[in-house]
């Protein structure tokens, strides 16, 4: 029997409220192990993107903890000082945006986009940066000869694959994906999902993927969390949640995708 994988991320009672409205996130807690993919589903405005940004170090939560495993100890993301956090995050956590334009530098070549996080992490050998970039282009199914092209001229699907290569090239421990197949055509989506699934399996990284698309959740996620109005209303193994939803809202989510 396989030994249980190491815990990579633990979120404890995380809450965030913007400007006096209903909380975007309310006392959310969960944990994630290496090699595990957690799907967070819910309609827009349910707080899933806010949660993701709190995990990525982009938005400071009002309450609660984000604990991330470092090499030999546990980092409390929001109690450490900003400088340490900025040192820690780039090599540990990757955020893949829904819109690849938010996660790429469009005026820098495809190769440069993959190489940048590597250089930020101390890569100082041009030849090996180049090799890594080529390997990653291959992995995400972009022709190697496009390495010096600007992503500006890439299709949406290619841009998204490039963003994924950029996000994974540094071998982060934790990858956060915000609607990674969001703005793409259905056929392109399917291809990208296949790619993501195989990469995640191959690299054994821990992934949190936020999506409003039940189909994406079913394909990628081992476990699911359903969010509504900032709260987690149901969670469990993906098949279990989708095939036997308990909460009325989850039932609605699942049925709407079946009808659609």
């Amino acid at each position: 029997m396989k030994a249980r994988a190491r815990e990579i991320l633990r979120v404890e009672r995380l809450s965030k409220t913007f400007g006096g409205r209903v909380p975007a996130c309310s006392a959310v807690s969960f944990s994630l192990r290496q090699g595990e993919v957690l799907g967070i589903v819910g309609e827009s405005g349910s707080g899933k993107s806010t949660l993701l940004r709190c995990l990525a170090g982009r938005i400071q939560p009002d309450e609660g903890k984000v604990l991330i495993a470092s090499d030999d100890h546990i980092i409390d993301l929001w109690t450490m000082d900003e400088a340490s956090r900025e040192q820690f995050l780039p090599t540990t956590v990757s955020l893949i945006h829904q819109n690849p334009r938010d996660g790429l530098r469009l005026d820098i070549s495809a190769g440069g986009n993959i190489a940048e996080p590597l250089m930020a992490a101390g890569g100082r050998h041009y030849g090996s940066l180049r090799t890594t970039a080529l390997e990653w282009l291959q992995k995400v199914d972009i022709e190697k000869r496009r390495i010096d092209d600007l992503p500006e001229i890439f299709s949406g699907g290619m841009q998204q694959r490039l963003q994924i290569a950029r996000g994974l090239a540094t071998h982060p421990r934790l990858v956060l994906m915000d609607e990674p197949t969001g703005g793409l055509d259905v056929s392109v989506q399917a291809k990208l999902l296949d790619l993501l699934r195989s990469l995640v399996r191959e690299l054994g990284i821990a992934v949190v993927v936020v999506t409003h698309d039940i189909g994406v959740a079913r394909l990628l996620a081992d476990r699911l969390m359903v969010m509504q109005r900032g709260r987690v209303i149901e969670e469990g193994l993906t098949d279990q949640v989708l095939d036997d939803p308990h909460h009325a809202y989850t039932q609605l989510l699942v049925s709407s995708v079946l009808q659609g």
């Binding site: 900025e86 820098i108 440069g112 190489a115 940048e116 930020a120 100082r124 041009y126 030849g127 940066l129």
Partner: protein, 288 residues
Amino acid sequence: MGIDLAFDDHGVYSFAYLDEMTKRMIRRAILKAVAVPGYQVPFGSREMPLPPGWGTGGLQVTASLLGREDMLKVIDQGADDTTNAISIRRFFARVAGVATTERTGEATVIQTRHRIPERALTEDQIIVFQQPQPEPLRRFIPHEVVARKLHAFAQYGVMYVRLYEDISRLGHVAMSSDYPVIVNGRYLASPSPIPKFDNPKLHRSRALALFGAGRERRIHAIPPFTDVKSLDFVDHPFTVQHFESCCSLCGAQDSYLDEILLDDGGRRAFVCSDTAYCAEQRGERTKS
């Protein structure tokens, strides 16, 4: 010119133009800059009688350094006889009454724009650079707030992206002047728009190097004997300009050369940009 005749008396302006409190403020900024090599220290830059962008940062640093015993040399493009160098030298001769020289070896303070003299500087000398843009990240990160954070976190990946892009597109780094450096293994800094030919002269230089950016209100420093590394990759090491020709006047082969256009038909010649060095090589005595 008429304007130059006015206020020619030390009763109107303080020694070296700036009032003593201002000079003290600038000296404090300089001390901080020396203490944190390569870090851009904000300072309360003043309006000077020369326009911002023409060397007011260097001017203020020099003004706060000069004492009555100092011997000042001013160069622009390496030359003592360029209009801007003459203008600044005359300014200090007038408002501080200090002695001026063209000989590099004789000077105690050298204010420069765009060059470091060929003759190695000594521990008795301070070189003051005029710095139009002290922030090397500015060309990629226009926002000051973001750039300052990147310095604080020593996140310089974006600067290496520029190197990467140049090499992959052109086979080499396409920055020929104002080539960024890492000072003392910590801060990314601009060496001012000197040709990269001069970058190695900053490494463990015996002289204190001060960089004044008046318009941008920053001072940074490279203290004597400090490591200065020009950015590069292990497999694409930093190189400096190399000239095929030698100086047509003095025959020097080790100096940075200016191109002289002899006509519009393309006839060209090359001469030392460091006029004092060239004269020295030719055994001429330069003015002091």
